[in-house]
């Protein structure tokens, strides 16, 4: 066991953008093969810009904090730019994660990719 950074705890305590979007333009649904957790990401896209994003997560403190952080990082970004956000960037924005918890940030990155994929599928 390693302690979480203050930033992680702050996002865990007050998660940003938790919940669901009613008529999303894309939904990502991913599960972790490592510990069995599930993350869902909903996005609203207008003129190729992510205007709104929400998440639902069944997982640990790090999973909830990375979900929250990724929603903050992608909101207002163009879809292509958002896709460049790596799990490392999410972890870094949170002041780092314990090594055993890096896979939770991978889940966040994958949830975003899957939401964007879904968005593309729906719009083409």
């Amino acid at each position: 066991m390693q302690n979480y950074s203050e930033k992680v705890m702050e996002h865990f305590r007050n998660p940003r953008n938790a919940g669901e979007i009613k008529n999303p333009d894309g939904v990502g649904h991913v599960g972790s093969s490592v510990c069995g957790d599930v993350m869902e990401l909903y996005i609203k896209v207008k003129d190729n810009v992510i205007t709104d994003v929400k998440f639902k997560t069944f997982g640990c403190g790090a999973a909830i904090a990375t979900s929250s952080m990724i929603t903050e990082l992608v909101k207002g970004k163009r879809v292509n730019e958002a896709l460049k956000i790596s799990n490392r960037a999410v972890a870094e924005a949170l002041g780092g994660l314990p090594p055993a918890k890096m896979h939770c940030s991978v889940l966040a990155e994958e949830a975003l990719k899957s939401a964007v994929e879904d968005y593309h599928k729906r719009s083409f």
């Binding site: 865990f12 305590r13 957790d37 069944f58």
Partner: protein, 389 residues
């Protein structure tokens, strides 16, 4: 913020009386219990006094008690020591599937050395089956080890009956009594035990000291080689202050044992009922009655344990979980899986363990705070939504 400690199965605070008893053995009575002079003698007689106390509590002889560094050492001592000293007789050991890692890991080690280990399945409450045990015994079986009560789900095993079977077959029988020693009556003859592990810090004593009971005449390899301490079975300068503290903790436990058991059972059941009645989709893990007086283990569906523990901690409540996310190897608790719990329920498990300083107001506070936390996490859970539709 007030802090509420409900993790007594992990460790307990040392009783102030224990500290008082220990303190002179760090300073004016600092002698080495192996020395000849007066400093040595006073240390030695304190150690022997503590040994008598522990022996008396177990219904054993003082010579049958070996002081160790704790439960993990005692368990390693038994498994490796019995295996090695009895390998000419056989190479088979039997343990339950829900033993502590301090039993299962040494067994994995022994398997690599060529020993065979049977892991007895448990039923949905966590109990081993005596028929299964009988079937598992072969003429190569040299040790049966089944824990007295499980640290996670609190289930109490039929130790006496298991011991009877072992005795009839002349197989060494060991129990890991770390969770029961000092909390429930434990008599080595009544329970048909040859070996027993216990640890001081689970009964308001200091960390770093424990004991192993070894029935007279049992062949066991010494655990540490060096000086002739502990009858040549465990070399190393004795932890005099720790042993004295252990002895005092056992005395205090003996004075409180029956009354404290009743008090805890009523608090325990209040907490269990409060959770099951007020939070939907929860279940009790372990046996409702054959259960440690201080153990509450529940699974909360659709949410994950670590995030519950952290949220409770933010409200000042300390407890633990068997969730995969909270384990360093990211596997859910082997104990919960052995009960047949699906991963999702093992994931959402919470353990509260009560103790000497637990008050009813604290239980009320948990019952007030927990439903809110569950509600918050469920509102964020993708599984909860799916199930609602």
């Amino acid at each position: 913020m007030k802090r509420i400690y409900l993790d007594y199965a992990a460790t307990t605070p040392a009783d102030p009386e224990v500290i008082k008893a220990m303190s002179p053995y760090f300073t004016e009575r600092f002698g080495n219990a192996s020395s000849l002079h007066s400093f040595g003698r006073e240390a030695r007689s304190a150690v022997e006094q503590a040994r008598k106390t522990v022996a008396l509590f177990l219904g054993a002889k003082p010579e049958e008690i070996i002081f160790t560094s704790g439960g993990t050492e005692s368990n390693n001592f038994v498994l490796k020591g019995i295996a090695d000293a009895n390998k000419s007789k056989g190479n088979h050991l039997i343990i339950s599937a829900i033993e502590h890692h301090a039993i299962t890991k040494p067994c994995k080690f022994l398997e690599k050395q060529g020993f065979k280990v049977t892991y007895l399945k448990v039923d949905r409450y966590g109990l081993v089956d005596l028929q299964d045990l009988k079937r598992a015994i072969t003429d190569k079986t040299i040790l049966i080890s089944v824990m007295h009560a499980n640290n996670e789900i609190g289930v109490i095993q039929p130790i006496k009956e298991i011991g009877k079977i072992a005795k009839e077959q002349e197989i060494h029988f060991h129990t890991d009594a770390v969770q029961t020693f000092g909390h429930l009556p434990v008599n080595v003859d009544q329970l048909n035990l040859d070996l027993l592990s216990c640890s001081a810090h689970k009964l308001y004593g200091p960390k770093g000291v424990g004991a192993l009971y070894v029935r007279e005449g049992t062949k066991i390899l010494p655990f540490m080689h060096g000086g002739d301490q502990e009858n040549d079975r465990r070399a190393s300068t004795r932890n005099v202050a720790g042993i004295v503290g252990f002895g005092r903790a056992v005395e205090l436990a003996g004075e409180k044992i029956g009354r404290e058991e009743k008090r805890l059972i009523s608090l325990r059941d209040k907490l269990i009922r409060g959770v099951l009645d007020n939070i939907g989709r929860t279940r009790l893990n372990g046996h409702p009655a054959k259960r440690l007086p201080n153990n509450v283990n529940v699974s909360v569906k659709y949410i994950e344990g670590e995030s519950m523990v952290l949220n409770l901690d933010l409200e000042g409540i300390a407890c633990s979980t068997g969730s995969a996310c909270a384990s360093s190897i990211l596997d859910p608790s082997h104990v919960l899986l052995a009960l047949g719990l699906p991963h999702e329920l093992a994931h959402g498990s919470l353990r509260f363990t009560l103790g000497r300083y637990t008050k009813e107001e604290e239980i009320n506070y948990v019952l007030e705070v927990l439903p809110k936390i569950v509600g918050k996490l469920r509102s964020m859970s993708p599984l909860y939504k799916t199930k609602k539709k």
